[in-house]
Symmetry: C2
Subunit: 452 residues, 2 copies
């Protein structure tokens, strides 16, 4: 009974769907068929399932328990579950060291620019402070983004840009727009772990392609597209999360050609774009925002507290997305949030801050590589920028076990398999070079040693 309830909560069994036959389920659970018959009868008495004589048992409509995302992942692996890492990172005690988290420490951020922006907003018109704002969001910020896109080679007018409540919400809106339950979505392996959690909430099938230092493996990509006909491909451009890989022009062209042939939409998340010394090849630029949608946010470079994201896409898609965002959020990004973001980005200090930050991160990257090298922990590739290093542990050490051990010592790690759809990264971890401190190295050393 518990197992069927779990499947209903995870929506792996949906209303109207047939339950496994008594015999098959008895085999699966290692119990006798009469036990299954009794369990099914009781579930039917509770109204959760219905029996159709001569046909079997079916999940009843309108009685599904609340959706439990956690139930969708295998229970035994709860500690390498993407949601677990997200919740740990967000709710960690302030004293926890977080080399596994995906953002910069608070004192690395351009807080003075944000403070000036808040004071500027305090003098804004009543309407900016109190009204919902237009359905696409702040025009000045969209115009700013349009200019920034132009510098990356993406021609998108302000009317082709939709502001959203966050980068994650931008992707969520696109999933609602393009997907239905049961569709297939292609991800990189490894990829940003919350892509998996988000796609679970949309109840789609996830297929992944091994990532190389120059983008997705082209042959595997072609094979996956042909075999699974995915509706979407979601990827990080600029500095790939977690690997730090840079898309090569050849791979970009190959990916676009394959996507176009199969009518597969590409969502390119450029959230790390400002960390690049100069723009790398962009799918959205090569494609001209035809079958590629560009999303992003300001959480990594400006503030994760002031939530604001964006979508740049074809005008007809933007129009449909506006309807969806009105229905599900009533309006676009907060005008106050967009106002703060625009004021801070336009602040004379922002460009200088980013340039100093890139230099600081480059130094930290070098130091971190040296410190990890002393523990035989080696980077998979050398990222052109950003704060993440995708690292291999020495001789088959298990990153999940290491993470469990380190957490007891107040250090939050991000074990490789959290990022890997196919669970092919048991001995990898993502390290945030800006969150490295001497104590982290000491805890890593002790954790690795305890294993031997």
């Amino acid at each position: 009974m518990d197992e069927i309830r779990r499947r209903l909560a995870a929506r792996s069994l949906v209303a109207g769907e047939k339950l496994p036959s008594v015999r098959a389920f008895a085999r699966t659970m290692g119990v006798s068929p009469s036990t299954v018959v009794e369990a099914y009868d009781r579930l039917a008495a509770e109204g959760l399932i219905r029996s159709r004589p001569g046909s079997g048992f079916y999940a009843a409509a309108g009685t599904a328990p609340p959706l439990a995302l956690a139930e969708i992942a295998p229970r035994a692996e709860r500690d390498i579950d993407p949601l677990w890492v997200s919740r740990q990172s967000l709710d960690a005690h302030p004293d926890t060291l977080r080399p596994g988290c995906g953002w910069l420490p608070a004192d690395w951020m351009p807080n003075e620019a944000v403070r000036r922006a808040l004071r500027k907003l305090a003098r804004a018109d009543d309407a900016v402070l109190s009204d919902y704002g237009g359905t696409r969001g702040s025009l000045p910020l969209r115009q700013h983004l349009a200019r920034q896109f132009a510098a990356e080679g993406i021609a998108a007018g302000a009317e082709q840009i939709l502001l959203t409540g966050s980068g994650t919400q931008a992707l969520d809106l696109l999933c609602r727009f393009f997907l239905q339950p049961g569709d297939t979505v292609l991800l990189d392996d490894p990829c940003y772990f919350n892509f998996q959690a988000l796609l679970r909430a949309h109840r789609v099938r996830i297929v992944s392609v091994p990532h190389t230092p120059s983008g997705p493996d082209p042959a595997a990509f072609a094979a996956a597209v042909a075999a699974h006909r995915p509706r979407l491909y979601v990827t990080n451009s600029a500095i790939h999360n977690p690997t730090g890989a840079t898309l090569s022009p050849q791979t970009a062209h190959r990916v676009l050609t394959l996507a176009a042939a199969q009518d597969m939409v590409i969502v390119e998340d450029g959230i790390f774009a400002d960390f690049e010394p100069e723009p790398s090849p962009r799918l959205a630029a090569l494609d001209g925002l035809d079958g590629v949608v560009r999303i992003g946010s300001f959480s990594k470079t400006l503030s994760a507290s002031v939530r604001c994201g964006y979508i740049a896409a074809r005008p007809d898609w933007i129009d449909g997305l506006v309807d969806l965002q009105v229905a599900t959020h009533f309006g676009s990004a907060s005008p106050v949030a967009a106002g703060i973001v625009h004021a801070a980005l336009s602040d004379g200090s922002y460009r200088k801050h980013m340039s100093a930050l890139r230099a600081r991160l480059a130094r930290r990257q070098k130091q971190t590589i040296a410190a990890l090298g002393a523990l035989d922990i080696t980077p998979w590739t050398l990222p052109r920028g950003g704060f993440a290093l995708w690292c291999r542990l020495p001789d088959g050490a298990d990153a999940t076990e290491l993470a469990r051990h380190a957490l007891r010592d107040g250090v939050l790690l991000a074990p490789g398999n959290v990022f890997s759809v196919a669970r092919t990264a048991p001995d990898m971890m993502r390290v945030n070079v800006a969150q490295m401190e001497d104590k982290v190295i000491a805890v890593l050393k002790a954790s690795l040693a305890s294993r031997r």
Copy 2:
């Protein structure tokens, strides 16, 4: 071909579902069967549908066009479509008069408190300004809400409260949590129009119950619950939108008893609670947050620009909702937004502002009733507070036609059927007393006269 494409975009035809038979569809469309055969063959050639020999045609997987919410509504009635009114209200030219819109004019809002809050935030810790914050959102704001709920008779600790990006997003999260496509949801008729748009996006069936001045009609409510077994009932408490009705204790008790018997969850949206002179009966208070979820936001009383909403619910539900919000929004409400809201609510001026606002609205309500009375436009009931009046037009005048006419004169009205699931309010409209100006009365007069 267009009609099948439309059904696919509206998701009224989903992957794997059988298309109407050739004969039935020919009858529906008033064309010959051979025309339908040709259309189906062409759609099959495009890959949108597949033929299964001997069985018929089926919608193909992975080829659905992007979800078009607008297509879900009947095309001919686009101007009484909820999304149309929302988009018009949000994107209206600043000179448009908006008695049809659902919020106060900018200069009626407590903007000075928001300005002081912004300046206070400019002095906050770096972490508040730059980090994502915890998964439930700002603790001080949740503690403030817990105290406010206690005053309404709802016992909810801060850990039972989840902050969200907006009130709409709170409901959206609950829909994801409780519903699957095909479930049934119960609404009031009339009700806040965006409930319909939001539920469309979740592809659920909507059933409605006529509203009375003391809440939903008890007999119709009982019949609807028994006949349709809805999973959710979504309603506005305090001051009902659009009618201004107040739930009576008897009706509240009846509704709770019926809901409990059928395992139906109630979502009570208390967004207008602060407009009440003193708290009216609350479902969440009577029920003790067992099968009732309380949601709300600060958009109507503080600022619609600083987006922040909340959910108060059972601890086990909050836990599942946290996972869902991490997956779909990565974190809770913006800490900066929650900080502004908390600072403004705690500002000594807020309570005085609300008390003055209630008095000002009461005066405006009286004036508006008099001015509309001269045009034979009469309120359906006398609301205890708030800014909405649900009004009947004289001798069967059509509100949709009136709205179309008035828009040409720069006045945005909210025709009754936008709020009515069953389209039973053709001669009703919602009037925002705070947005009434002499020109609105003049335009209404001219529009009514032109009809004669």
